[in-house]
Structure formats: C-alpha cells, structure tokens
Symmetry: C4
Subunit: 351 residues, 4 copies
C-alpha cells in the first residue's frame, strides 16, 4: 500500500503550487461549504459487510462503452493542468492509462488533445454559444481519439469562489485554454460582464439533444443533481449522467452528491449513472457504488498528485485508490461490482 492517502496530497501540493493556483484548484463556491458537504456525506454512509464469504476471484473491473477499466474510476475533467506540472494533461492521461482508470479531458485543457492522448479518453465540453464552435471542439476531440463526450450543464457561469477571488487568480504566462483559443471569435466564458451576457448564451436541453443527434459518440450530461435534470438529459439522448455539483465550485448551497445519488438511481434503475465530488478513499468509492453509481470520477487529488510528482504522482495516487477499493470489496464480501448494492449499506432501525 503506497504511503499517501488521497487526502494527504493536498497539504503537500499546497506547498508546491503557487498561492493563486492553489486557490483556484482548491476553492469552492462561497466559502466552500459544498466541498465540505460532499466529504461529510460520504462519511455518513455506513456499511454492512457480508461476512463469511470466500471470494475465489475478486475482480473490480468495469466494462463501459466496450472498454474494460481496471476499477470503476475515471479522472475528472480539470482545466489547466499545466498549472500543476510542466507535463500537464499528458502526464495525467499517461498515469490513468497505466492504472486502468478512465481519463476525461477538459475542453479547458492547457495542452492540445493530440499531445495528451495516451490511451482511451473522454472529452468534456461546454456547449458554445455558436454551434459551429461546439462542433469544432468535438471534431478536434474525436480526431484525437475521444470515445465519449461529457457535457457540463451546471456551469453556464463561473461560481463565486471567495478564496480564488481573494487570491486574485489569473492564468500565468504559458497556460492557456488552447482549444478554446483556437475557436473562431465568439462570446467567450471569460466575458467581462459575467452574468446577463453569458446566460443569454447558456445551453439548453435542446442544444444538448442536437449534439446527441449529431455525434456518433455516447454523450453524458454532467452536473445532474436531481431526477428532473436526469430525465431531461436522458430524454435529450444522453447515454448517461454524471451526478456532480462541480466539486462544490458553482453554488455553495448544492446538496452533496451522496445525498442526491440514491434518489436519481431510484428514478432511473437502468441508466448509466456516474458520480463525483469528495471521493477520497476506496471506501468512498465503494459507498458511491452502493448508493447507485456505476463508477466515480476523481478530481482534486489527481491535480495535487500531478503537482507533486507528475505522471508518477498521479499513478501512485490512482493505484492507492485501486488497492483501497479492492481491500474494501474483500472486507465487504463482494467479489464483483454487481454485488455492491444497497444491501451493503447499514440502515439504522428507527423505532
């Protein structure tokens, strides 16, 4: 078992990153209550192991869109990974491939996708005000090998992150959203008036449906926090949804993803449902699956591990999560992901 637990990367990375970059990555909407809420909600999920089972063939692999992943984990889309390390997104993608985890490339990548792809990857995008811009992003991603699209629906505007504002974060020289910069001029997400203008260009479900109809790749809607939003996304043609409050970065008052996940799973028993937000251990990952997720995305710890050790750092981090998850499956008496159900959750009797 590698030394560093997943939440031990943050204090180390804090020393490595610039104060501005750290504030940008670590910060949450407002004073960060949604980040804490995410973490605490996993901690309240209690477990009920199936003791006394001999597990002849413990396997935590996941099949998704025809790919096999070594465990049900993907690296979440994160912007500007050159902030963390000179190898940026390339290092992260390499580590994910080495550890059998998925990798989602952000459309705010600081390296072009053809320099990043080290294995199978998905591509995250914001629907652009100009459809041609959206199409240009998608085509570039497909050309680099993207196997699925993740459309972020919860952030037509940047959230108000006090720590980031206090630190006066701005992109340093040499770090740019290279894919967005390459787009034809349009109203950009960094517009001066952050509100009315941006909202007038915000994507709606019809835009998402158009995209789903136009591309051959599976599309997942990210930022879904209610059965109603999940329904809209699935009806628009999405192959699945990602339950996410954007790592607590958009609205401080969003519930924890662990709170809403069971409701969404109950409403759509057969849908593909992923989740992110605050997962920091193999037990958290197990809890996510027991609450109804098919897989989970891991964000900030990967960014911090990248800052600390480049591809090797990320690889170590993902390996630790894999090992913890496998141990948890063993201790819980589960041989396959399919056995990780709500029956493995402790439910107090109310008398």
């Amino acid at each position: 078992m590698h030394r560093l637990a997943l939440d031990h990367y943050e204090p180390h990375a804090r020393d490595t990153l610039s104060a501005q970059a750290y504030a940008y990555v670590s910060g949450g909407a407002g004073h960060g209550a949604a980040i804490r809420r995410n973490r605490e909600a996993w901690g309240r999920v209690l477990l009920d192991p199936a003791l006394g089972r001999r597990l002849r063939d413990l396997d935590c692999g996941l099949d998704l869109f025809g790919r096999r992943y070594r465990f049900p984990c993907l690296v979440a889309p994160m912007a500007y990974q050159l902030l963390a390390h000179p190898d940026g997104e390339r290092a992260t993608a390499l580590a994910a491939a080495a550890q059998g985890a998925g990798f989602v490339l952000s459309c705010q990548t600081s390296l072009p996708p053809d320099q990043v792809a080290a294995g199978p990857f998905w591509f995250q995008l914001y629907l652009q005000p100009d459809r041609r811009a959206t199409r240009a992003l998608v085509e570039a991603a497909i050309a680099a090998g993207a196997e699925a699209l993740v459309v972020t629906m919860d952030a037509p505007l940047n959230g108000i992150r006090n720590a980031e504002i206090d630190a006066g974060f701005a992109l340093p020289d040499g770090v740019r959203p290279v894919m967005l910069d390459a787009l034809p001029a349009q109203a950009s997400r960094q517009a001066e008036n952050p509100i009315a203008g941006a909202m007038a260009a915000a994507p709606d479900w019809a835009d998402l449906a158009t995209l789903c109809a136009e591309v051959a790749l599976p599309v997942l809607a990210k930022g879904v926090m209610s059965p109603a939003s999940a329904r809209a996304a699935l009806e628009a043609g999405c192959a699945g949804v990602i339950v996410s409050n954007h790592g607590g970065r958009v609205l401080e008052g969003l519930p924890a993803t662990a709170q809403v996940l069971p409701q969404i799973r109950a409403a759509f028993p057969h849908a593909l449902i992923l989740v992110d937000g605050g997962i920091r251990s193999g037990e958290d990952l197990f809890r996510a699956l027991a609450l109804g997720a098919d897989a989970a995305l891991l964000g900030r710890p990967v960014f911090y591990a990248l800052a600390l050790g480049g591809a090797q750092g990320v690889s170590t981090c993902l390996r630790r999560l894999h090992d913890e998850f496998a141990v948890t499956m063993g201790l819980m008496g589960c041989e396959r992901l399919a056995e990780i159900t709500a029956e493995r959750l402790y439910r107090p009797e109310v008398t």
Copy 2:
C-alpha cells in the same frame, strides 16, 4: 467581482472601529447564539437548480410601492452610523441609491433626516410613549422624503448583550440620536430602570393600528417571528411585515429568521414579507426569496463597509451582493424574481 466577500468586512472593521463601537454593533443578545443561528440556518437551505435554461433577459429588479429597485435588497435600519464614519448615514444612503438598493433610516440616526436623504428611503421608528412624539418623528421623516414607515415591534427594551455590556459601551461625544433628542421630554428608551417603566410604555397593536390609520405612507411591522404576530400586524393595517429577530440583538433564544419565514409565508401567501438576519451572500439572498421573502435587508456588513470606506465602501459591498445574486439567479436558471420559488429548494426524500 469585487474582492471582499460580505463577511470579510467584519474583521477589517474590527481594526477600524473603537472596541466599544465594535462591541455595540457586532454584539448579540447573551453570548450571540441568535446571530450564529441566523447564519447557520441560511447555510442549511439547499438548492435545486433548473439546469438547461437559456435566460435571454436575466433581470433581478424589484418593484415595491411604485419604486423599482435594482435588486431585492434594502439597507437595514441601524443606529448611530457616525460611529462608523464621519459621513454617517449620509454615506450609506448615497451608496444605496447608487447601487439601486433601498435604504431604511433609523430613528436613532446620528444625522438629521434632511441631511441624509440621497434618494428614496424608508423610516424606521419605535412607537413613543407619547403619541405626539411618534407623530413628530413621522412628520420629520416625511418632510425629508420618507416613502414608507418601518415600526419595530420586538424591542420595547434593549436586549442584554454581554459583549456590549462588557465593553462598557456609551455614545462618544458628537454622536447622538438627534431625532430623539429633538422630541419633547418623555420617558426615553435609555431610562435608568430599564424594565418596568419601559414596559409600561411599550407599544401595542392598537398603537400600531392608530399609526396606520393616521399616515398616508405604507407601514411595515418589523420583528415579526410568528404567523400570530404577522396576523396582528396585518390586521392593524400594515402593508407588510419584516421577519426579523433584530439581528440577534434582543433575545438569544429566538429562532433563525430562515426557520420561521416559510411558516409565515405559508400563512399569508399574498402578503408583502421582507426578512433580515445573517444574509451574507447572493446565495443567502436567493435562499431568502426561495423561502418566501419578497426582499431582504442587509445590516452589519453595511455598517462595517461604512467604517472601512465610507460611501465607497458601502457601494462596493452592495455591488458585490448584487453581482453574487445575479450570478446565483443565472446558475439556478431563474430569469426573474418571480421564478425564485420553493421549487428551487432541495428537499431530501425521507424514506
């Protein structure tokens, strides 16, 4: 987005204000539990955004008594603003007008109303033991341009604020309740025996009804914390109520305003209901409206901003609140205040 979040003004102002003035302004009844309760209650209100809406014309303006405000926010009545800055109430009123917020002048103003009025304003008063004194206050306010009256019903006595008592607060030279000083001699609110005497002169609902009948301006009752009090105020002829626990300054054991607001709104679906207490961000303001308020009042942050930067400080503070509120509306998928309803509140399923 301006740098300082609304709750960042307090530590700065603490360095600027005298220890006595800081204790007076910041303190709450007892050890301040009601202040903390107010803050924490907003933090427990979770949100359910309407994703995937293109908002062609996001507008957070409010119409009230024939006036249009840029956003649903008024500066709460606060006494003795010369404690904070040599420009006192004048600076605050100017900033409110500049930012399109309402302004409520306290009858304990340290500047006469005709020196303060910089735009539309409301006037807060305590009903005086002597009706002629009440009338004199109201007439002076109307002469200066007041457009509505706010009658504080919850503080016939000063609350017991330990921090203020410990600090030995007393008005410094040059700071006086100039309107009250100008009244004909009567039992004043600063009487030596703080209890029986004051209570014998405390206003009742009949006094309020008399006032409502006598003045042409709309009257709002402030300090309402229950449907029963709201009913009494509305039956007395009030145009609306302000749900308030006096910023936690009168009784330590009052519930948070966010706790009682939904009950009062449910009891009076069509009444004008404002709220104050612990609002420190655009998300808090959004929560207030989603719980049933038509608008909210902002208190201490304005006082602290005044201490830090006079009119400019208050203006910056109010602008920040406006911008945060507009961003929140956008992220929540609301184009107009009328769309901010209880449907935008996350309600956990109880199973």
Copy 3:
C-alpha cells in the same frame, strides 16, 4: 446591568480558588458531559414572544410556602462554602436575602446553621443510615429557622468525577461538614469502601415517607429525573420535586434537566416542580419556567461569585440574574410568572 454575565464568574474564580477546590466544584461525573448537556439543552429551547403587549405592571415575584420571593430563583445547596470565602455560607445566605432569592443550606455546610441564617432558608439533607441521625440534622435545621426540607435522592454514592480525582481533592484544614461531624458515629458518606457498604445504607422511598410524616415542614425530593421518580416522591408525601441531575456530578449519562422537565410537568400538571442544572442567564430561567418549572435553583455561579467577592459578589450575581429575567419577561410580553407557559416556546413545524 451589572458587568459580569453569570458564566463569566467561572474563569475569574478559577484564578481565586485552589486548583483542588476548583476541581471539586467545577467537576462533573466522568469527563463532564452531563454538565455540558445541561447547558446545551437550555440553548436549544427557542422562544416565541408575544409582541405588542403593553405591560402595565411587570412583576416577577413568586409565592412559595407562604413566602414571597422577588423572582423565581433559589440558591442551590452546595457543600463547603468556606472553600470559596472566609464568610462561607453566611455570605451566600445574606446575599440571597438581600436580593429576594431563596437559599438552600446544604447538610454538608461548613458553618453551623445558626451562624448562617440571614433570612428564610430551606435545608438540604441526605437521609442517614441511622434514623436518629436524620432526625438530629432536621432538628438542628428547624431550630435555626429552616422552612422546608430538600432530600437528595440521587447520590447515595459520590459520582466519579475525573477532574476531582485527578486533582486529589481533600478538605483543607478548617473546612469540615460541621453538622455531619456533630452526628453520633455511624457509617459516614466518606466511607472507605465506597460501594457495597454505602448502598446497603442507601435511603429508599419508605424512609422518605417516614420523614414526610414526621416533620411539619414541607419536604421536596431532589434528583428526580423521570415521571416514575416524581410519582414515588409525591406518593411518599413530598410537597414537590426538584428536577436535577445533581449539576452533572453523579452520572455522566443522565439527560439534561431541560430534556426531562416537560415530561415530568406533563405527568403532574399541578405539582410543585423546581429545576436546576446549567441555568446561566435570565433567558435560561425563563426557559425553565416555560418548560414547566415553578422556580429554578442556581448553583456553581453563586459559588464562584462567593469566591470572587463574598456576599457582595453573590448579591451582584443574583441581581444580574433578576434583571436579565425581568428584561426577558418584558421582551417576551409576560407580565406575571403565570403567563410564562409552553405557548411562549417556539416549536418548528414539521412538514
């Protein structure tokens, strides 16, 4: 309003008292959870004021056993007050009389009752293994003027107070339980084997009934924490009960007195019910009455005030409580104690 709030006496007294005496007085069973539970439970009791009432004649006086007290407060029985001040119990009794509060003399008094009595007082006792010893205590108290008896039923053994044990508390020279010392030799409460021996001599309800039958004074049972115990006490002939967990000193796991008080009042709507434990403000005293108590006892703050300032210290402390209580009554719209009912409690709607 005097400067020191009631819970501000403790840190000052900590500097005045010896470490051993402080550990003895301040300590609670185990690590003190029951002390904290008492305090926190009052803090959770929220209030619903009756606004808009003119109170012509606010009066917080209480009639009890033919006496009128200025407000519904008695000084709780506390042992060894010479530990706090050379004037010991005499100073406390004097201050209580001066402020119109009741005074309960402990049978572990460090001064003989005839040197203490400064006004009306009650006498607290433990039933002794030897009935003649009990009778001797009672007769001495009556001779000194005791007007009621308080029989402590919850402490046949000393509780295990870690802080006191750690500090190695022992009575210093010159401080003795003078009334107990004067008794004929019998198994004392400070026996070497603290358990089986003491329990074999523990009082039962029949002993209490015997006492009630034998003495002309009203008898109150102290330490009642359930309707069942209250029933036993009342059936034994008691004139009332004192809901108390012994200031958190006997068992760490007892509920807060504010938790059990409403159940006991509901079971015995017409009984005389007093309460103690964690009351530190006029609002707490108001809450106690609203939850069903007729009056409350105040313990540790009095001991600390005695340490700080003798009779003057205790007087100031009691006066502050009185004034806070009167202000609270005024702010809550209550003219008489009888108006302090459960209707003045805020009860959240559960939806």
Copy 4:
C-alpha cells in the same frame, strides 16, 4: 478510586511507545472515524436511574461457561503485546486474573500460550487457509488451558489504517507472532498481494461450522455487526457472538457497536452476546449491558496500561473499571447484572 481514568492512559502511553507501535495500536481504518464513532455512540446512550432503592447486596459478578468473573469484562485479544512491555501477554493475563476479569489471548501473541496462562483464558484465532494449521493453533491453545475459542470473522484482510501506513509500522526485532511462525508454511496473513490471494483463502461460515463441530470448547464469532451475521454464526454452532467492528480497525464506515447491539439483541433475545469498541468507563460498561450485552471486552486501554506499568498498570486499569462499574450500578439502583436492562435507558418522548 485510582487516579487514572481509562482514557487517560493513551496520552501517557504515547510517550512510552515507539511512534510506530503507537500508530499500530491506536490507529483505525482510514482516518479513524469508526474509532470516534464507537466512543461517541456510548456517549449518546442516556440513563434512567431507579432511585430510592436500598441495595443490600450489590454484586457485579458474572457467570460464564461455568466460571465466575468479578465483573462482566474481558481483556480483548490484542496482538504483539511485547510491543508494549517486556512481560507482554504474560503481564496482561496476570493482571486480568488478579482483578477477576476474563482474558482473551490473540493468535498473534508474541509469547507462546504456555508462558502466558496465569488463569482461565480464551483463545482468539483466525481460521487458517489450511485446516491443519487451524487445528494446530487450537490444540496448542487447549494444551495451555484455553476455555473458549473466539473466531474473528471480520478481518480476512488487514484494514487500511492511514496512521499506521504513514508511520511505516513493522515488527521490531524480537517481536513475532510466535504461534503463527510455528505453523507449517501456508499463505500467511502478511502476504505481499494483500487482496485477491487473501480473499481466496478467507474463511466462510462452513469453515466455522466445521470448527464448532470438531472442538469441545465453546466457540464465539467475533466481528458480528448485524442480525444476519449473528444468525449465520449461531447456526454454525457458535455458543455466542461478539459484536465488534474490530476496534474501528478494518472498515472506517462500520457503524458503532452501540448502534447495532440493540438490533442484534432484539433478534436473539436468549443468545450470549458480548460487545467491544470504545468502552472507557464504568458507565460505558453499564450502557453496554443495558443495550443488551452480557459482557464487554476492553482493548486499547489495557495495551496502554501495559506500556505504562506492566502487570501493575493493567491491574490498576481493570480495577478502576470495576470500581466505576460498581458505583454506576449503585447510583442506577441495580443490585445484580440481571437488573441492568433497557428499562434503565432514558428514552426521550417524541411529541
């Protein structure tokens, strides 16, 4: 009453033990939430004393498998006690015998059982992949005098204990699992690949049933945290179960033992049920019995006391627990263990 409360041993032992040994003993799964959950859950169990009972013959003795113990407490099985003191398990066993407590020897003992046995003891074991190895362990234990077997069912793998991993714990020279070392070579619990290999060798209920059928001693299953697991153990032929989450060492998300104990007792009203996890006072022990346990096991405080003072340290620690328990029984009005029932628990009325 001896000076040190049970949870006061830990800080002292921290100074005595090596950092590695301390991390090994004190650490819990993940960041230790299950350890804290255990402690806090006992603290939430509130008590309802039976006042006014004269207890002529207070006795806290327990009869179990034909033995009489002075109080319902056993020393929990703990590995490698030579880490704490040169006398290791021998000292602990001696102290337990001296104080009339039970003693459970771990199969990971660092001294051979025949050098340890100082009185009646039980033997804890993990079922080994090779049945002959299991039999060899059991035979050695029986030869040394073991009177019952405790089979740990909840730890086919080591939990992931961050503090222990961080400290890089490894057995120092001279400390070995001497009984396991003496087994014929087989897949050991310290295998390199901690997961799939170990799980393929994990014991199942059939293995337990085989053991129960083969040995004449009573067998208890340890690690039971649900009625389902208790049923499986009892159907396998166990004489009883030990409700345990392994001192919070295997899975961070297990509920507290105090949470699940009542459900298991309710499901099996007549079974022998022991409990461990977080018991640190006589009141905690009383709570365990009131929630349904027949006896409790005490773990870490014994290890720390051993580190501090060898056999004398453990003896003092157990004596303190005994005395606290006896005082608690007295204060609660219980003369015999059989009187410690759910009627002695405070249950708030829900209105």
